[in-house]
């Protein structure tokens, strides 16, 4: 009875979550096995046909590969920048409040607006970036950033990193402010350098926060449409298409809703597997680490 009370208390929100998340997925799975008309009307069961079509489509494989690069680059880049930023913001300095606000500001602007602004800034002839670079004498001819897939995708990844920083910094900052200060004081007394403090105190203690930042960022970035869609619509020549932009085109431009449903189901599957693998990996490391600590405790006794 005692045990069932917490269960009963989370039941309503659990039911709500299942209703909101579960129903669309079931509907999607059902749609993916149907022949779907141009306007979304179901025309009967076709089994795996939609999936076979997806797997036979070279653009799908290219987009999948590019989604991998996109997700990896943005998440790694974001963490690489957010960690030092969070550590700086955690230190006490004059104007820290203002600095924190500035770092968080991009978060307050919608992704679409950020992407639109960057699209203007990157315009070859009238864009701010080329104008700045040319005035600074770094380039003498304007660069058409979005004209070729290589530069366009690189720039999109950088914008992706930029917009992911506030969220990630917030998570890491939360972790850092919960960090026990006496550990650092003890380390300083023992003569640990700044790098050693970071490597042997900050990083291990921050691991749960970094893990959650990785999982959430991977999910957000993997599914993120606005930046690429606004800046290049997956072009030129599908050279910046990731799965979600390709899916959007299939569904709402070409009206291939069955195939699009199959791709979204595949995307869901990929994310589910990633998250489960990652969580399993993380918790296995934790259980590996746990007995060691017990051993140490025993030694002391």
């Amino acid at each position: 009875m005692q045990k069932s009370i917490p269960m009963m208390m989370i039941l309503p929100s659990l039911a709500l979550a299942i209703g909101i998340i579960g129903y669309p997925i079931l509907d999607l799975a059902f749609t993916a096995t149907q022949e779907v008309s141009r306007f979304g009307q179901l025309r009967g069961f076709v089994g795996w046909d939609n999936f076979a079509e997806v797997f036979g489509d070279p653009l799908f494989w290219e987009s999948l590969w590019r989604t991998g690069i996109w997700t990896f680059a943005v998440v790694v880049g974001t963490l690489g920048i957010s960690m030092p930023v969070a550590m700086i913001l955690n230190d006490d300095f004059y104007g820290r409040g203002l600095a924190r606000v500035i770092i968080m500001l991009p978060w307050a602007i919608s992704l679409t607006m950020t992407a639109v602004v960057w699209r203007w800034a990157l315009n070859g002839r009238s864009g701010l970036l080329n104008a700045t670079l040319m005035q600074a004498g770094l380039i003498d001819q304007p660069i058409e950033w979005l004209a070729t897939a290589g530069t366009a995708f690189t720039v999109e990844i950088l914008v992706g990193i930029l917009v992911s920083i506030p969220f990630t910094t917030t998570i890491l900052l939360g972790g850092l402010s919960a960090m026990p200060q006496d550990a650092y004081e003890a380390a300083v007394v023992d003569g640990a350098s700044g790098w050693h403090q970071f490597r042997y105190i900050t990083l291990p203690l921050m691991r749960p926060f970094i893990n959650i930042a990785i999982v959430l960022n991977v999910i957000y970035v993997f599914n993120s449409l606005p930046i690429i869609w606004v800046m290049t619509e997956g072009g030129p020549a599908n050279g910046t298409d990731i799965l979600v932009t390709y899916l959007y085109k299939l569904a709402f431009r070409f009206g291939q809703l069955g195939k699009a449903a199959a791709i979204s189901l595949i995307m869901f599957g990929v994310l589910l597997i990633f998250t489960m693998l990652y969580v399993a990996l993380v918790s296995r490391n934790d259980t590996d680490a746990a007995p060691d600590q017990e051993d140490e405790a025993d030694d002391h006794v």
């Binding site: 306007f39 009307q41 002839r125 009238s126 058409e144 072009g235 030129p236 020549a237 085109k249």
Partner: protein, 410 residues
Amino acid sequence: MTYSLRTSTAAIALGLGVFGLAPAALAQTVVDFTVAEYSSKTGPYFQEVATAFEAANPDIKINIEVVPWDTLLQRLTTDVAGGSAPDISIIGTRWLLDFASQGIAEPIDGYLTPEFKGTFIDTFMSPGIIDGKIMGLPVAASARAMMVNMDLYEQAGATPPTTWDELYEASKKIAALPDTFAFGLQGKEIETDAYFYYNLWTHGGDILNADGTSGLNSEAAITAAKLYKQMIDEGLTQPSPTNYNREDIFNLFKQGKVGTIFTFPMLIPQIKEEAPDLKYQILPFPEAGAKATYGVTDTLMMFADSDAKEAAWKFIEFAYKDEFREKFDLGEGFLPVTKNVAALEHFTTDPDVAGFAAGLPYAKFAPVIANWEEIADVTVRTMQQIYLGEVTPEDGLAAAAAEINKIRGL
């Protein structure tokens, strides 16, 4: 406590009030009308027509919803899939076959009286006829033409071209001017394919061959693509066309930086407002064996599962009155689709309108085929690859033709 009691009483009263009003509202037939947003004037214009109509027909209410072009097809797709389609909608005529073949569009032959039908210009009526049935009425029309910057042509000592050879020679002279591009070539986003069709058609090619297969691997198509590529390589276009969408090209023209562009009538009001000093001229597309322009129409379509067809049709007839059509065509910069408006002084004497309308006798329309958007996308992708130098025109176009034939099931 008192406060919340009072609010809930108010809510109940409000609820009762709504129910009390309901019978009166039910007596009205509601017609849902989805309107594509051509400009900021579109919404207020249709609202004005609807208000005038409701005043004359108090038993019918017109419910107007303005949707931007970019999301219109997606919006209608979701509406149809969700069973909440409007009664009538403006759509791109290129989508009409998809709507008709899925049984979503209602044939209007039964509603269209001979005298109403007689008010339309036949050229614009024909794209809406599918399998001998009229599936919609033309609501807006435009044709494309070449626009040249006369100042730049004068400075460079060039004369506005009538053939592609002349355009090429003139472009060489203009490109030599400082900070100036000779030819604006669109390479990104909506209608990138159309910019190629202009070239293809005037070289005597076509989007589809007579047997329905793709015409992209024809001699004419290869010649046309090579010409664009050559102009890019020789610096006769703005650099990196794949970074320029339609509006970017038009903006360059408004800034007086580009000598020649291919464009639509809707640019005229923009130039008059934003660059009133620009000296431009509207001319037919350059030729290389054939005359052509791209005729584009939008269609007013009725939905087959509408439960207010009679009322909707009554509104349609009302909205096509000359006074409304004149205001619409003038406001948006379209070519008239009805004979009476086309005969008005503005449309016969204005050199800009005349320049665009001149091509109508030989205008080509986008083929009325299924999966048109997907086929257009293949063409866009291929042109981008050719402009970027990723494939040769021969290889790229051959692959594109094969892919289009596959999409068409041929």
